[in-house]
Symmetry: C2
Subunit: 344 residues, 2 copies
């Protein structure tokens, strides 16, 4: 396939010196005379020498590679996290090997095998939606390969992780609506075994309690968090004898679905119905009215997770107590929830 590339041995032959000298000259490590270093680097540049990282990795027992397992790489959230991971990793001289689990725990297991096989030095994981147990990660642990989770984690396992404070996100979104004068606030939530949805809901309930408001089950709609679920959810809410005056949706997509129905029925946002989403998707700025939403700092999460992983790798401290990094979400207030501005 690829043409035979110049190796360190070739350089050595051409210069009539030994491979070890060449190696040391190039890595600048040992005491090699300046003259030799110059000769070597000059020739290296001339023939376009490039070190074979496979060989070096084999010898040094390192691969300079990190593995990443995500449910999928498309979509706003994960693609931005991966961007952050790649940026932080390449800054530290690491390559990134990316695998998709496609939300399937069996794939996830294979991905881990694949990555260990490729000799990655550390692994970053966001769990698939179908992962309920931890068994396949034990193998990684047994090999002492540092492991850091991000965003989606399993309850009850003490692991290194970088997560968003979803409870705070839910709380702030709901509190903002309350501050705007909304008093009957509904909530769209997702599967409760996922930490993210459970916590967002907790935040919602905490805020209501703080305002002395009751938590009404009929106002909490559980669904798949996509657009269709939002449309269906808002219809259900509007059919209530006492419909809500605002919705905090655990996802921007559901919020968008709800907005479409509201438009169809001639209801005004934010006057008749306040609306807050979650994730600060790109399109939240494109909706009419623009959607208030919670930003998750996706890229920062990727960078933080990578830095944590690199730190663990360096300290060889993976047996120390696992670290939890909790990022604080930001509320981006836009027109969809600004009743006070709409009716000053």
């Amino acid at each position: 396939m690829a043409k035979k590339r110049a190796s360190i041995t070739d350089l050595a032959k051409q210069l009539n010196i030994s491979v070890s000298t060449v190696s040391r000259a190039l890595s600048g490590h040992s005491a090699i005379s300046e003259a030799t270093v110059k000769r070597v680097t000059a020739l290296a540049k001339e023939v376009g020498y490039q070190p074979n990282s496979l060989a070096s990795g084999l010898r040094k027992g390192r691969s300079n590679m990190l593995g990443v397992v995500v449910p999928h790489i498309d979509g706003n959230f994960f693609s931005q996290v991966v961007k952050g991971i790649e940026a932080a990793a390449s800054k530290a001289g690491y390559h990134v090997l990316i695998c998709q689990s496609n939300e399937d725990v069996a794939h996830e297991r294979e991905n881990l095998e694949t990555l260990m096989n490729a000799q990655v030095e550390g692994i970053l994981v966001s769990l698939s939606r179908t992962t309920h147990e931890f068994k396949h990660f034990e193998k990684v642990r047994k090999r002492d390969i540092p492991l850091v989770f991000f965003d989606r984690i399993l309850d009850g396992y003490d692991v290194n992780a970088v997560v968003l404070d979803d409870r705070a996100g839910g709380y702030r979104a709901t509190k903002h609506l309350l501050d705007q004068g909304y008093r009957r606030i509904a909530h769209f939530t997702g599967p409760q075994y996922l930490n993210i949805y459970k916590l967002r809901r907790q935040g919602y309930e905490d805020a209501l309690r703080e305002y002395g408001l009751p938590i009404e089950e009929e106002l909490i709609i559980s669904g798949s968090m996509d657009m269709a679920a939002g449309s269906a959810g808002i219809k259900q809410l509007l059919a209530l004898p006492q419909p809500p005056d605002a919705v905090f949706s655990g996802s921007d997509f559901s919020a968008a679905g709800a907005l479409q129905v509201l438009h169809e029925r001639g209801l005004r946002v934010p006057e008749d119905m306040g609306l807050v989403g979650f994730s600060n998707e790109l399109f939240s700025r494109l909706m009419v009215p623009m959607l208030t939403s919670i930003d998750q700092h996706c890229e920062l999460m990727g960078r933080s997770a990578t830095r944590l992983l690199l730190q663990i790798m360096q300290e060889q401290s993976q047996h120390a107590a696992p670290q939890h990094i909790v990022l604080q979400p930001d509320l981006f207030v836009r027109a969809s929830s600004l009743r006070s501005a709409a009716n000053p």
Copy 2:
């Protein structure tokens, strides 16, 4: 770092056979007695043996890795393409090493070095916006590392590439507007040294010509193709003595920017102004009205590019005539351009 993992040599010692026998037993290659194969695989499973792909890669002169250079991994288009690439590559037993050029040609050059250094067997590239010359790719070529470009390519270089028929996309978008009865159609375009924008514009002009309509420079707005550019563009158009009755935007983002201004001014879409975007971004379905747009089959592009690359690698035919694969875009007709449905 990671605990010393069982190697083929360990297996050999435990079974009192030679490493070569173990190797062959595991790869099932040569004629090894069934009994031995069973013994070996059994022990391998027991100790959780995992082949060291670095060593194997070094010996075989293969790495089982493909390199990808993209301007960035976030955003709808590239994240989907990368999804397709990863899927196709992993199906063929390859890992994917991803680099971001951040739209910077210097980074792009470094990325290529990095990938060659990592011994990738082939490289997929979508050019950065600041890449005007081809010099840094010559080095890759000299090493006989198969190279496939996708989406963004440079004019005048004969290379393997998978691209979208952007001209057809522009043509179909414009023709659709014409069919809907719009007659004074404006166009948002981007930097003309990028094939994609140039071709979309060509398609636009071709359609107008076909309908015997003049191409008016004042209706063609060149910009950075983001939301702000769209807002600015539509304002400029509305200020004309004879404003257009429709806009074909080379990007959904600019279309969204334009839509916001139209809303503000109380102009109705599609009645007063038809609107068609390009890229079929996620949010095009979330806008009000939903935006007609051109779909680029991003994931298919990733898969096609990867398959082409793998084929070239297999055939060792990189010296054969470069192949061009042209994907046909699809028009997704939605409310923003349906004048006939709005006024039946």
